[in-house]
Assembly symmetry: C2
Homo-oligomer: 198 residues x 2
DNA sequence: GGTATCGCTTGACATAGTGTCAAGTAGCAA
DNA sequence: TTGCTACTTGACACTATGTCAAGCGATACC
């Protein structure tokens, strides 16, 4: 199992997550992680060559732990564009809390570290494809508002669903997670779905 | 004048701005700023006690330089809620490009530095009042969508107008500034303004 | 029983950046 | 001449990442 802590590598990854959650707002140092994993600071580098690599691997660890690959199934199975949009918002919106702490650390590094920056960009670029698929599904159903080109709409949805916006509403404004998901569905509908001309 | 560079302090502040704009994406060091201002690194500390203070003072310098205090006049003078919302989005949206580089540096520091964090939070909290005023103006005109309480709507508008979202659309997606402002007006209208029940 | 290897420890060190301190200096003014 | 202001220079403390070399204990193999 990926959470098997007899394996030092996994114990380290687990410690990263714990430490990130424990030390809210403060930066997590290699020394902190080592201490929590019960090894020396230098030993971390026997498993991960840099702090950036450690954080990147932690994102994969979270995905394994939470079975993130299964989340998009409902979205892909949706029969209408609107269903697909809602399912995608729900899937991604409920994934953010799992990835948030590592994401934040990675984003903070991204300003100065190329590897961290690229790893996160890759993730966001994958997510953007989900946005594009949802928008295209709306378009195929002829319910995408004619106010935007699909590319523009994709950019807007992609922006709306950013981790920073989740952080802003949840952490800064103190919204409950369910309200966040509900609100995003509501406003996405208002923004993207063409008004009934019945 | 605030841009008088015979004054060393102003020369430093100007150098911060220039350096931030010049070194896109890379972190700006005290040494870089000193070099650009033509003084020693240590001399910076004769004018600003920390890097955070220097960046914070730079935000005020930008405001003085750009006359930011005048930007909100059209919004305050608006006669209807919808006008007020549009004027506020335009004012803030066109202010972001001026403040962006310093904001980014300050936000990056905010993760580890209390002073930087508080200074930026203060700014955002002031901006939130503008959001609240716009939403309340809509409400007073009975055109605020009944889907949200004013507080919720304020949080959403506040989130939409974040510097991070501007960064995402302008820097990441490559949108022109005018498209950004136009799009924000469009989606704010769709989200917040009650549909005509005529 | 010896020995080789693996996984880790320990201490020392390089590097980069912020911030501090003390001594010195150039220019200007009374 | 004296003294002040604004700056310079060099040295240093501190924090954090990352590297290196030597050593050590357990396990596995012959």
């Amino acid at each position: 199992m990926s959470s098997d802590t007899s394996n030092t590598r996994n114990r380290i990854l687990k410690s990263v997550l714990e430490q990130l959650q424990a030390s809210q707002e403060k930066g997590v140092r290699m020394a902190d992680i080592a201490k929590r994993a019960g090894i020396s600071r230098q030993a971390l580098y026997l498993h991960f060559s840099t702090r950036a690599e450690l954080l990147i691997e932690t994102t994969y660890y979270v995905d394994r732990l939470k079975g993130s690959d299964k989340r998009l199934a409902p979205s892909r199975a949706a029969e209408t564009g609107i269903e697909r949009l809602n399912a995608f918002i729900e899937a991604w919106g409920n994934y953010i809390p799992d990835i948030y702490h590592v994401a934040k650390a990675l984003l903070a590094m991204g300003d100065t570290d190329d590897a961290a920056n690229q790893a996160w960009s890759k993730r966001m670029s994958d997510m953007k494809e989900g946005c594009a698929a949802a928008i295209n599904a709306l378009d195929a159903d002829k319910v995408l508002s004619s106010d935007y080109a699909p590319d523009q709409a994709t950019d807007v949805l992609w922006t709306m669903l950013s981790v920073r916006n989740w952080e802003h509403l949840i952490i800064e404004c103190g919204w409950p997670q369910e309200d966040y998901v509900q609100m995003l569905k509501t406003i996405a509908h208002k923004i993207f779905v063409k008004k009934q001309t019945a």
